[in-house]
Structures are given as structure tokens and as C-alpha cells.
Symmetry: C2
Subunit: 221 residues, 2 copies
């Protein structure tokens, strides 16, 4: 048991070191980067598909898509206008810093302004693996239910922005927004939140404005 724990600790510390190196590499390129996390089907790829058409004329955008299997997400990101790299994790439930490093090698980072890393659909494991991106973004979705901050606190604690997706489904499901927000507030009081619908496009503009501001800040820093 002790042996197992020490191996897990070693894995995490090696991961953190690689995350620092990834961050240095991305900083050197002046590239703003996001690690987008969520449950399966919460709308990570749909958010990327909504974001890209608005930004792709002004900025060069790369997407790195992590999945257990298939290249469905990278194909969709490429179709929407990104230079896309697929990471197949070989059964692993998250992207780690090493996988991201390998994917970064396939991109000429100096040629990009924005990097969108789409993590594996999972509301637990990705929270434990830093990647070295500038910001961590979590997507919650209305049909998942209003109790998710209470039940998956680690994921809500460490993120810099929260998308609440599928607000178009609010009339059809039981979702107490006050209860949800109270849970978020308890875990991450200053978290910036964007209610959106990737189906109708509602709220996407505010999100894209936030991304654009951060691309500009990174460019001039």
C-alpha cells in the first residue's frame, strides 16, 4: 500500500515538473492556452466549434484534443478552423503534462496565438494533472444537474473560468441555479462564470470577449 502511494506521488511530482516546462514553452511563444475540462458530453467540442469561427480570422488557433479513443473531436476542431492534434490516451482517463508535451512538438508554437486543449471527458481525474496551460476552464451543463459542485468539488476548486452550457434546456429539466451557484461560490468565490448555449449561441460573445482579452494580454506581456 505504502509502495503504491509513493509511486502515485512520484507520478504527480514528475507531472508537475513537466507542466512547468510546458508553461515555459508556451510563454516563450506568447501563446495564450486553455485547458478545457468537463464530464463526457458537457460540450467541450461544441464550445470549441462555437469559439473558432469568431476568432479564426484574427488569430491563429491550435487545438489539442484528448480522448480515450477516436479522432472525432480533433476532426471537428479542424473542421471549425483550428490546426488540430489528437491525443489518444490509450485508455487513460485524463491528459497529463507528458502527453501535452508530445502533442506540442507537433505544432510550430510561434505561429499560433491561442491553444485550446480539450481534456478527456471526466469530472474527477483531470483535476489532479496540471498541464502548464495559462487557464483551466470547466464546463458544467444543465442536464447534468445542480448538485455537481457539491459532488465533484476538486474540479470546481482549481479552475479559472466556468462555462454553464445548455442553458437552452433549462425549461425542460430540474435545475436550481441558486443551489448550483451557492455550491460554486463556496468552493471558488471569485470564479468568472459564463452561462451559454452552444446550440443557440446565447452567451458565446461574452466568453469569446474574455478569451480575446487574454490573448491580447499574453501577446503584450
Amino acid at each position: 500500500m505504502t509502495k503504491n502511494i509513493s509511486v502515485v506521488e512520484k507520478v504527480h511530482s514528475a507531472n508537475d515538473q513537466l507542466a512547468i516546462e510546458n508553461k515555459q514553452q508556451l510563454d516563450q511563444a506568447g501563446l495564450f492556452s486553455l485547458n478545457i475540462m468537463a464530464s463526457p458530453g458537457a460540450g467541450k467540442t461544441s464550445l470549441i466549434e462555437r469559439t473558432l469561427p469568431i476568432l479564426k480570422d484574427d488569430f491563429k488557433i491550435a487545438a489539442i484534443d484528448g480522448d480515450v479513443a477516436t479522432s472525432i473531436d480533433a476532426d471537428r476542431a479542424a473542421e471549425a478552423g483550428a490546426t488540430a492534434v489528437q491525443i489518444n490516451t490509450g485508455g487513460q482517463c485524463h491528459i497529463d503534462a507528458h502527453m501535452l508535451r508530445n502533442a506540442l512538438m507537433e505544432l510550430d508554437l510561434d505561429g499560433f496565438d491561442l491553444l485550446l486543449v480539450e481534456n478527456v471527458g471526466n469530472l474527477i481525474c483531470p483535476a489532479s494533472f496540471k498541464l502548464g496551460t495559462d487557464k483551466n476552464v470547466l464546463i458544467a451543463s444543465i442536464p447534468e444537474g445542480d448538485d455537481k459542485p457539491y459532488k465533484y468539488p476538486a474540479m470546481y476548486q482549481d479552475v479559472d473560468a466556468l462555462i454553464i452550457n445548455k442553458i437552452d434546456l433549462l425549461p425542460y429539466v430540474k435545475f436550481d441555479m441558486d443551489y448550483f451557484k451557492k455550491g460554486v461560490q463556496m468552493l471558488n468565490p471569485d470564479l468568472i462564470t459564463f452561462p451559454v448555449s452552444c446550440t443557440t449561441g446565447e452567451g458565446i460573445e461574452e466568453w469569446v470577449t474574455w478569451v480575446t482579452e487574454h490573448i491580447e494580454i499574453k501577446k503584450t506581456s
Copy 2:
């Protein structure tokens, strides 16, 4: 690296041995048991809440609810009529056979006909940890999208029954049922499937009939 892999292998083989012991214990008690798995918010607790009121007058039912945090799910299962035990996994992304064994110790198994184990909300990790239950059940949900069998194949491969929940949302989301079913068919050709809505109650009767038949078979075996 080699060291890490060998520890993982040891963990899995120890888990499988404990799963066999759990199975023996459940068989001795003549108890039919289900391991219910799904993404966060797909409807595991809601399915239990729909199932219990129909069965609780005829059968004694226990529920074991696995969560990273809170006892929200066990509270809901108890409210619906089960004797409920909460497993808090301490951050772990799945229930393993050892956690189940500890939870079984809190129940007088001979006094029950049905055990519902609600796994942690996760579409990847629980597939790797056998628990020793009679059947593995997966809940897919319509708003998660029709590509899930393709993207999370391991989970679909090893289950004995599939619930397709939230069919009441079909008019409001993009979901190609033929594409979804083609993916399932490819991975698990004989999988029995129950389209249901835990909101409206549609389809629940067919599911409960299947459960009842298996309780009776287990009792007389």
C-alpha cells in the same frame, strides 16, 4: 515506468480476487446485485429513485452509493425506500472491490433480495474495476450525445444492460439514435437496452420487469 506498471497490475489482480470473494458472499445470500455506472448526471440516482417505489413492497433492497464527496445519493436512495450505505472514495474516481467489501460488512446480506451499487460518476475508470456484482449496468443519457459508444468503448464493451435515459429530451437536442445504436452494436451486439425517462417514468416498467426476473432467478438458483 516499469515499476509503476507493475504496481497497477498488482492493484488490478488484487481487486479481481476481492471481486470473486464479494461475488461468493452475494451468491451465498441469494441476493441479486447490480453495478450501475454512468457519466456524472446521467441519472444513476434518479433511476434508483424510480425503481425502488415499484419494488420495495415485494423485495428488501439495499443501495450502496459511491461518491467522491457528500452523501447526497445515499440520502436520496434511503428516502426512496432502500437501506443505504454511502462510500466516500476519498477522491478516487471509481468504487473498487475492496470498498464494496467494506460496505457489504455494514449490511445483513441475508435480509435483502436486491443490491443496487451506484458507482462514481465516470465513463472511464469504473470499467477497469470488477466489483463482484451479478450484472453491470450502464446508463447513457440523451444530452451527452450520440458519439459516446465510439469515444468510451471500454465502458460499453463490458456491460450486461444499457439504459438510455432522458428520452424526454430527444425533441430538444441533436441525437442520432441510429448512429448511437450502431456504435453500441459494434461493441456489444447482444446488449439489452432500455430507453427510459426518469423524469416522466416512460420505459421504467420494462427495466423493472428485467430486474424482477433476475431477482427471482437468483432466489431459486
